[in-house]
Amino acid sequence: MNRTREPRRPRILYLSFYFPPSRASGVYRARATANYLAQQGWDVTAFASPISFLHEVIGSVDERLAETVDPRIRVERPPLSQFAWERDLRRFSRFRGLSPVMAGKAYRLGLSKIFPEHYLSWAAASVRRALAMHARRRFDVVLATGNPFASFAAAWMIHRLTGVPFAVDYRDAWTLNMFEEKPAYPDGHLAWKWEQRILRDASASIFVNNPLRAWYAERYPNSADRMMVVPNGWDPDLFGQGEPVEAASTDPTRPLRFSFLGTVNNTQPVEQLADAFERARRHPDLAGAQLHIHGHLGYFKQSQSELMKRLGLADPAGEPGTDTGISYRGAVSKTDVGQVYQDSDVLVFLAGGARYVTSGKIFEYMASGRPIVSVHAPGIAAQDVLAGYPLWFNPNSLDVDEIANSMIAAGKAARDMTPQVRAEAQAHAAAFTREAVTAPLEARLRAMVKRTIATGAEAS
């Protein structure tokens, strides 16, 4: 009997701690990568954080986002020790309850001698589970995304123990403090040793913009030829079809609506935004204009009150503030963001840091075809993708008056919008769909597979 063996689907292990239903800002890249790989015929297994960690420590999940994960993806959730976050004394082990000093020392010893992150236990559990799964049916490639960077260490360890090639996706910088633009760790720190060995052995390392790639290439020249840039993109399936370009013009009788969508955090020039908007509203064109903040204030519930104050808003539990035109509209499910954009006339691109920061949100902003006002330090990496966007209003400064003038100009552009201008703006964004930006990564991963595999995309 003459039997021919069909090449089987390539199998990938994707180490992505933040994965839906997490609502962490980096989760969309992970979701899109896993979905794209599944659509391209990969057998995808994702290792993600325990659900209890999302509920108890992070404090929020987006269940509707979880529904957008391709059902062919197998999601495993290795356990994580919550030693660093646990506050409930009843949940302390007997050892920690009776000997908290020794328990703390033992825990810190692991961080100082093994891996300097609280997610170490998750990485160790991931390695154990990966080895068990690999023994039953082998993986062809391991892809890890950070943060947390313990996932990189897990990928490296799996590679050392099994020989499976691996790639690391620097969704964030690890040893570079992107906001202060200097090394995040002192010389000799354990993180440098880990990063050196990971980049030495990784078949590919991926960065979100060219300045970041260049910083790493300079530090690790022997690995530079295996480094690549995969920018963040926008997700057409979450964004929706949007309104037709014919509906471009803004109702001239109602005040303009400015919107920020994303996570407000302490690195962003929040005060400058609030002050500039207050000044811009004095202009007749922006009379009665509103600025709606959609999304989360900080990464943890405890951050909300401080950021509310910085925005000039009253604490939810406190007295109402004066009318600044700024209001916090709360979190938005990723599946509802299309409606937020449709209801906005101008988008405010508020970002912290500078040279190394792109921000995933900017791609979606561009896809909306709305005027965008920049509120960030000059020289931010996001300028590379915004360059050529016809509705970008960049004060190129954090001067409050300059920002206010840009807001006024953007407001005018919203009033004067034509279908043609909006179509041009959206055409610029089309180059940054997730599919377009992820395709080179998929090709690189496919090239890493050592045996014969099936090729081509599968219907989703």
Binding site: G97, L98, S99, V101
Partner: protein
């Protein structure tokens, strides 16, 4: 960081009763956040029982209504472990050297006395205290447990262990008061309104 679960919990205080918090703070110099927490609890009308090693760091709150401060008043120094160390490392050798001085005169013994003081001090700081630190939360929890019946703490809504030395006592009290929130969080817990 505080976990969200705790913040969302509300103490199950009996309706009509003033909420009661047991705040444990064994650091000799209490952290500003702990003092601030105690102040905010008192401001909102909560009864606070404060268990401390020494009340010197809490003078700013002394006399506040609804606040009771329970101090160990040096009981730790009288604990058998501390007494044994003092006897074996300081007093015993010092007594021997004193006796030797009486026999031989002070002058030849003086270098030995100085050497002993240096060695005993170094042993106390570098070896004894480092070892003792491991069992210190247990020692302190036992000292306070003996005093608890006299303190009249028969019900409590929240137990807050504010530093690592208080964890063992807090962990044990969590078992004694199964309905109370027992936490290391320094955020103001959700409590029913005081009457």
């Amino acid at each position: 960081m505080t976990t969200v679960r705790e913040n969302s919990e509300t103490a199950t205080a009996t309706a009509g009763r003033q909420p009661r918090v047991l705040l444990l703070s064994f650091n000799l110099a209490p952290h500003d956040r702990v003092i601030e927490l105690a102040t905010r609890l008192l401001d909102q009308g909560t009864r606070v029982d404060l268990l401390v090693m020494d009340d010197a760091g809490w003078q700013g709150l002394a006399g506040r209504p609804n606040l009771r401060i329970h101090s160990l008043d040096g009981a730790e120094r009288r604990h058998v472990v501390m007494r044994a160390e003092r006897a074996a490392v300081f007093r015993g050798p010092a007594a021997v050297l004193t006796g030797l001085g009486k026999l031989t005169g002070e002058r030849p013994v003086r270098p030995l006395v100085k050497g002993h003081q240096r060695a005993a001090g170094a042993f106390h700081r570098r070896i004894f205290m480092k070892s003792y630190a491991a069992i210190r939360p247990l020692v302190l929890s036992r000292l306070f447990e003996r005093r608890l019946p006299a303190l009249g703490i028969d019900d409590v809504d929240v137990i807050i262990a504010s530093d690592v030395l208080t964890v063992t006592l807090g962990w044990k009290l969590a078992k004694r008061f199964p309905k109370a929130i027992a936490t290391t969080s320094l955020d103001v817990p959700a409590l029913p309104a005081a009457n």
